[in-house]
């Protein structure tokens, strides 16, 4: 039997599983990092996320005031509508709250909403897409009909009705976003799985007796993970925008400082007609930055993993 032949080049120790895993992950990160340096978009996206993540973590340190506290000047007068300056970096609201501190604290809720929704959307979409695409038949049909229905519910109105009746909460926003956004991910992953399933090397695995589990998770899943990330990073943006819209419409939760809440506050307090740009420009810009970072990263991802899209 061949095993007993002991060719001269042997023995080479068979590496154990987990060091190989570490090496593989290391290689993947190294490759992504190398690509990052080449792709300006992805680099910009990651940089923006890093900055906001640091701000969110250090919010208590960075903020100069309690975001919801009504502040007074040393003279004892309400510190309302103060212009930006040394004491109040971005000025104050008409009720005397520090805008800069609100902005800093808003980072937390934005990242929380964005990342949680992204994780749920990406994992739900990936699992459904994988199962639906690989097994096909009835399972596929049922799941895709669910997807059709979810995509036929108008997004923002659905969230509004849900929040309006269930009450404002970040969890409900995350749930609603996940409920309506998973089909996009699932559909794309499904079609990718459909084509991967027909690849010769998957057939090769089948003909050598690989189990369904092994084919799905060893041969197919690694090829679709980049897509999951792609759709995850887009979902971050969607979730943040949704939270902002809901808060702006006045359905946000009253005790959480978010950028959407700040904008609603500004809008309702006539900041626009009074020209208080310092109040409503910064939160909007923050939203733009965080959301666009997701777009940038997804673009970079496309360049890394779907190079045929490149020029």
């Amino acid at each position: 039997m061949p095993a007993s032949l002991e060719p001269a080049t042997l023995p080479r120790p068979t590496p154990a599983l987990w060091p190989r895993l570490v090496r593989a992950v290391g290689r993947a990160i190294a490759r992504a990092a190398a690509q990052l340096r080449r792709d300006g978009f992805a680099l910009a996206g990651v940089t923006i996320y890093t900055v906001f993540a640091v701000v969110a973590l250090l919010a208590d340190v960075l903020a100069t005031h309690d975001p919801m506290e009504i502040l007074f000047l040393p003279t004892g007068k309400l510190a309302a509508n103060i212009r930006p300056g040394a004491d109040f970096l971005l000025g104050t609201t008409n009720l005397g709250r520090d805008i800069y501190s609100q902005l800093i604290h808003g980072t937390r809720s934005a990242l929380l909403v964005g990342l949680s929704a992204a994780v749920v959307v990406a994992s739900l979409g990936t699992v459904v897409g994988l199962v639906s695409g690989y097994f096909g038949g009835r399972i596929d049909m049922v799941m895709m009909r669910f997807a059709d229905v979810a995509l036929s519910l108008p997004f923002l109105p659905f969230v509004i009705v849900l929040i309006g009746f269930l009450g404002a909460s970040i969890n409900i926003i995350i749930m609603a976003v996940a409920l309506l956004l998973w089909p996009n991910t699932a559909r794309v992953i499904r079609s990718q799985v459909l084509s991967l399933r027909e690849r010769a090397y998957v057939e090769a695995a089948r003909v050598t007796g690989a189990s369904t589990w092994r084919i799905m998770f060893v041969h197919i899943a690694p090829n679709i993970l980049p897509l999951s990330f792609l759709y995850g990073s887009i979902a971050i943006g969607w979730a943040i925008l949704t939270e902002a819209s809901v808060s702006f419409l006045g359905f946000g939760s009253a005790n959480v400082v978010s950028w959407g809440y700040m904008l609603q506050d500004a809008f309702a307090s006539q900041a626009l007609s009074r020209g208080h740009f310092n109040w409503f420009i910064p939160p909007g810009l923050c939203i733009v930055l965080v959301v666009v970072a997701g777009f940038f990263i997804s673009r970079g991802y496309e360049e890394i993993f779907f190079p045929k899209l490149r020029d």
């Binding site: 036929s152 923002l156 509004i160 009705v161 419409l249």
Partner: protein
């Protein structure tokens, strides 16, 4: 033909599913919206009368069939607060939303398609390199915030345009058409349309650009070059014609999505549309009105999904002319 029937059937199924979800959503929510309507100071008899009026004293499954029956007859109930049939309320504001949606989509898609094709043609130029992140950034901005900024500048700072509503107070018109064509209406329309168009142009622009780039690499475009066809024929007749297919589908889908997605912009500009109606209905717990508004928005979305589907198969000869023989 077969495709049409199949999709139609499919669409009806989706409508049924959405209608059912809507029913469950409004009946099973904790803190039934009706609670707000049934004031304590009403007598029990009065309360029961109202419950009966809405059929809420029957078992759930019976309510469901009553609800379906009512829907089929176009019976959406009566608004709690406006004391008018929901359908009348909806139809009064619906045209405003349609005008707003279509004008902004047309502006956005005409601009997006042209700009996208131009950027693809000027691949790797300075303008192309700058435009892509700029477009992505605009797409990342919340619509209502774009609206707020435009409002603050053009209405409050410069005073060029009105700050909200669809018409100035006190204006009356002989017909809806007259109203839509009036200068006053158009002045009110500019800012919301600009806001939506700014937000919406990103999709057709990026789509057109990447489709063009892809098509320009297709063999048939190379062949058009080899044939010595003019740049116009190559770019417009061959590349753009092929690249446009998915954009047209996106337009149809966009109509469906925007009708509900306009909500925030309608709020910013106090635009008397269906989205604003929905938000107010939810805020005041006017449940028949909220349900009706949601249903209308959903039906438009489903219908446009169907149209997009059909459009694609009609415009792409590979689908519409599939040879069976």
């Amino acid at each position: 033909m077969r495709l049409l029937l199949e999709r139609l059937l499919h669409t009806l199924l989706v409508v049924w599913a959405v209608v059912t979800i809507l029913f469950l959503m409004f009946r099973l929510m904790p803190g039934s919206p009706l609670a707000a309507y049934l004031h304590d100071n009403l007598s029990e008899e009065q309360q029961n009368l109202i419950l009966q009026q809405f059929g809420l004293d029957r078992p759930l499954w019976e309510q469901y069939f009553i609800y379906l029956g009512n829907l089929l007859q176009g019976e959406l109930g009566v608004s709690f607060f406006q004391r008018r049939p929901v359908l009348d309320v909806l139809l009064a504001v619906f045209p405003n939303t349609i005008v707003l949606t279509l004008s902004s989509l047309i502006v956005a898609y005409v601009f997006g398609v042209l700009a996208g094709a131009y950027l693809a043609w000027r691949r790797n130029s300075v303008i192309e390199r700058a435009a892509v992140p700029a477009v992505l950034a605009i797409r990342a901005a919340p619509e209502f915030w774009i609206g707020m900024v435009l409002l603050a500048i053009f209405s409050f700072e410069l005073g060029w345009l009105p700050s909200g509503g669809a018409n100035s107070p006190g204006m009356f018109y002989d017909s809806e058409i007259d109203r839509f064509l009036s200068l006053d209406f158009l002045r009110h329309l500019i800012l919301p349309v600009l806001t939506l168009a700014l937000y919406l142009q990103g999709l057709p622009l990026l789509l057109m650009r990447s489709n063009m780039l892809e098509v320009m690499h297709d063999e048939f475009v190379t062949m058009a070059r080899m044939k010595g066809l003019s740049e116009w024929s190559i770019v417009i007749r061959h590349a753009a014609r092929n690249a446009l297919l998915p954009v047209l589908t996106a337009f149809a889908l966009g109509v469906g999505v925007s009708v509900g997605g306009n909500v925030v912009v309608e709020i910013v500009f106090s635009w008397p549309g269906i989205g604003r109606l929905l938000v107010n209905a939810v805020a005041t717990l006017d449940y028949p009105l909220a349900q009706g508004a949601f249903l209308l928005i959903a039906l438009v979305l489903i219908f446009m999904n169907f149209v997009a589907d059909m459009l694609y198969s009609m415009l792409d000869p590979r689908v519409s002319h599939a040879r069976v023989a």
